[in-house]
């Protein structure tokens, strides 16, 4: 049976993805994502092995033990406001990257900006000079 350390869980769905017997289920709404671990009798430790946060351990089967569910509010993008990731996942990114990579050339904390806005910013940066040049030439 799987035991979850809720302080460590990132809410990333890695365990649910690797589980061969659908014992870890997920629900996602635009604001919230939840993970539910069923009481599992399998002799399999894929979820334990593939948890990035080492939040899972295997314990002896116990019928009386409640099935854990964890829910995570999704963080809103600083620019567009769309919800795009769980807070523990973003904190984890912050701790895995060196400080000099966490701000872009304009000083923006890009980790707290959603991937769609990141692409828009990149496109704007790339075309800025040329847009200026072309606007000048047009009558």
């Amino acid at each position: 049976m799987i035991k979850v350390d809720e302080k460590k869980c990132l809410g990333c769905f890695s365990c649910s993805n690797v589980c061969p017997s659908q014992n870890i289920t997920r629900t996602e709404t635009p604001e919230l994502r939840s993970v539910h671990w069923k009481r599992c009798k399998e002799e399999c430790d894929l979820c334990v092995e593939f948890c990035p946060a080492k939040a899972l351990t295997l314990v002896p089967y116990d019928e009386s033990c409640p099935e854990p569910t964890l829910s995570f509010d999704l963080v809103a993008c600083k620019i567009c406001g769309s919800r795009y990731a769980t807070e523990p996942m973003l904190k984890r990114i912050e701790s895995s990257l060196p400080a000099n990579l966490q701000k872009d050339s304009t000083g923006l904390d890009w980790i707290w900006v959603c991937p769609v806005c990141r692409r828009n910013i990149e496109a704007e940066r790339a075309t800025k000079q040329m847009v200026l040049g072309r606007s000048r030439k047009s009558p």
Partner: protein
């Protein structure tokens, strides 16, 4: 050896997007963006030297092979950390991560071969050589026309 863009040549036709999707089973890794009507640019993986996605990946599914940021699908758990670690938003996760692989197994990436405007190339110097050639041509014709 990533793909380089000569932005002044991009006509915003999205052929690179289509080519990428075609060779990657429907999930593409190129996004063409428009700056009003004045300019367009395809946004895709830079194959960063210090690649954030490889630092965030805990199974080393994403790793550096020379200049390329390579992806080992066997090791991916679909956790989505790489998607959040990419500063340019060009790693996607739909159950499993996917990003530009420079068309592994092909001599030249499909986007480069397809681009009808020759805006994409594997040659870092090409855009500046073209700019110098244009400047020289203008000078030879007696200054700015």
């Amino acid at each position: 050896m990533p793909v380089y863009v000569d932005i002044s040549r991009c006509i915003g036709c999205r052929s690179c997007e289509v080519a990428c999707k075609r060779v990657h089973g429907g999930s593409g890794h190129v996004n063409v963006h428009f700056a009003g009507d004045n300019a367009s640019v395809p946004v895709f993986c830079h194959h960063c030297e210090e690649a954030s996605c490889t630092m965030a990946c805990f199974t080393q599914a994403l790793h550096k092979v020379g200049e390329r940021t390579a992806f080992d699908v066997e090791k991916c758990t679909g956790c989505g950390l790489c998607r959040l670690a990419c500063p340019f938003g060009v790693v996607w996760t739909d159950k499993i991560a996917h990003k530009c692989d420079l068309c592994e197994g092909r001599e030249t990436p499909a986007c480069v071969l397809t681009c009808p405007a020759n805006a994409l190339s594997l040659d870092f110097e090409l855009a500046s050589r073209r700019a110098r050639a244009r400047a020289a041509l203008v000078a030879a014709h007696g200054g700015r026309r």
